[in-house]
C-alpha cells in the first residue's frame, strides 16, 4: 500500500512537467491561439510522424508553428495555410486526407465493404437456417425431459 502511495506521488509530481510542454505563448492573441490549436491538431509533424504539429517538441515543428502564427496574423485562412504546408511537404502532413482520386478507396472503401458483408452474412445465415429441422419429440423423449425438469 505504501509503495502504491509512493508511485502515485511520483506520478503526480511528473504531471505538471508534461502539462507545461507545448502550451501556447501567453502573450499571444487568444483568438489566434485557439485557431492555431484547432489547425495544428490536424497536421502531422514530419520529424516524429505520430505526433501532431500541436504536440510536437521537434525544432521543425516549432518553426512551423511560428510561421503558421505569422500567417494567421497576416490574415491568411486555414485553407491557405494548409496549402502552404502541402506544397512543401505533401498531403502527408494532413491527418485528415483530402478527397482526391488517390484516396477514393480510403474514403469510400468502408461504405462499399459494409453492404457486401451484409449480403454475404445474410446469405450465409439463410443457408444455415435451412439446415435446422424441427422434429417433434417422441413420447419417450418427452417423458425423459419431464423427469429431468422435476429433478
Amino acid at each position: 500500500m505504501k509503495r502504491i502511495a509512493w508511485l502515485l506521488a511520483i506520478l503526480f509530481s511528473l504531471a505538471p512537467a508534461t502539462a507545461i510542454a507545448g502550451v501556447a505563448q501567453p502573450n499571444e492573441d487568444p483568438q489566434i491561439e485557439a485557431r492555431m490549436k484547432a489547425l495544428t491538431e490536424q497536421l502531422r509533424c514530419l520529424v516524429c510522424q505520430n505526433e501532431t504539429l500541436a504536440d510536437s517538441q521537434a525544432p521543425l515543428a516549432e518553426d512551423l508553428r511560428t510561421q503558421i502564427r505569422e500567417q494567421m496574423k497576416a490574415g491568411r485562412s486555414d485553407q491557405e495555410i494548409i496549402a502552404f504546408l502541402t506544397q512543401r511537404y505533401g498531403n502527408f502532413v494532413r491527418y485528415r486526407p483530402p478527397l482526391i482520386p488517390k484516396t477514393y478507396l480510403l474514403w469510400f472503401g468502408p461504405f462499399v465493404l459494409l453492404p457486401v458483408c451484409i449480403v454475404v452474412l445474410y446469405r450465409y445465415l439463410g443457408r444455415r437456417k435451412k439446415l435446422i429441422q424441427d422434429k417433434p419429440l417422441t413420447a419417450g423423449e418427452r417423458k425423459q425431459a419431464e423427469d429431468l425438469l422435476r429433478g
Binding site: L46, V47, Q49, L60, T86, R88, Y89, G90, F92
Partner: protein
C-alpha cells in the same frame, strides 16, 4: 464449390502477407516530396563565408547543380561530409550548401578543419528557406536542372550507391 470457398481465406491471407511484405521494404520516414519536377523555390540568402554577399537559387540557371542541406549539429551530415568531399573532387556535379539553422562560426570551423566540398554556402539562419524546400531531416539533397526544376531529392546522407547509381546518371542526362 466447397474447396473453392475454403480457398478464399487462404487467398486473403496471401494478399495480406503481400501487402505487409511491400510495407516492410518501405521507409515511412521518407515522405515523397511534392517538389519533384517543380521549380526550385527562389531564395536570396547571405553567404556563409562572405556575409556581405548573397546567394540566390535564380543565379544558378543554366547549370545542373546539387543543393545540400546541412548543419554542424546534424550528426548524419557529419557522416556525409567526407563523402561529399569525394564527390566534389570528381567535379561531375557542383555542390552548393544550404547551411541550415547553424552557428556561423561552428560551420566555418568545420569546413576549415574537415575540408570544404561546397562551391558556395548559403546561410539559412532561421530555416525558412529549408521549410520552403520541404526539409524535415537534414541532410537532404536536391538535384536541380538548368531550368531551375528539382529533378531528384535524397533524404539522408548520399551513399556512394546513390551517387553512382542515381545522381550521376541523372546529372549526365540533364547536362546533355
Amino acid at each position: 464449390m466447397r474447396p473453392l470457398v475454403l480457398a478464399i481465406p487462404l487467398a486473403l491471407f496471401i494478399a495480406l502477407v503481400a501487402f505487409l511484405l511491400i510495407g516492410l521494404q518501405r521507409d515511412p520516414h521518407e515522405v515523397p516530396s511534392p517538389l519533384i519536377n517543380r521549380p526550385a523555390p527562389a531564395f536570396q540568402l547571405p553567404q556563409l563565408q562572405e556575409q556581405a554577399k548573397t546567394f540566390t537559387a535564380q543565379e544558378m540557371r543554366g547549370k545542373v547543380w546539387l543543393l545540400n542541406v546541412w548543419a554542424t549539429w546534424c550528426v548524419a551530415c557529419r557522416d556525409e561530409h567526407p563523402l561529399l568531399i569525394e564527390y566534389a573532387k570528381s567535379g561531375a556535379v557542383p555542390i552548393y550548401g544550404l547551411n541550415y539553422k547553424d552557428d556561423r562560426a561552428a560551420a566555418l570551423q568545420l569546413l576549415k578543419e574537415e575540408g570544404n566540398p561546397y562551391v558556395l554556402n548559403a546561410f539559412d539562419a532561421d530555416g525558412r528557406v529549408a521549410i520552403d524546400y520541404g526539409v524535415y531531416g537534414a541532410p537532404e539533397s536536391y538535384l536541380i536542372d538548368r531550368d531551375g526544376i528539382i529533378r531528384f531529392k535524397w533524404i539522408g546522407p548520399i551513399t556512394p550507391d546513390v551517387w553512382q547509381g542515381k545522381i550521376l546518371p541523372l546529372a549526365s542526362r540533364l547536362n546533355k
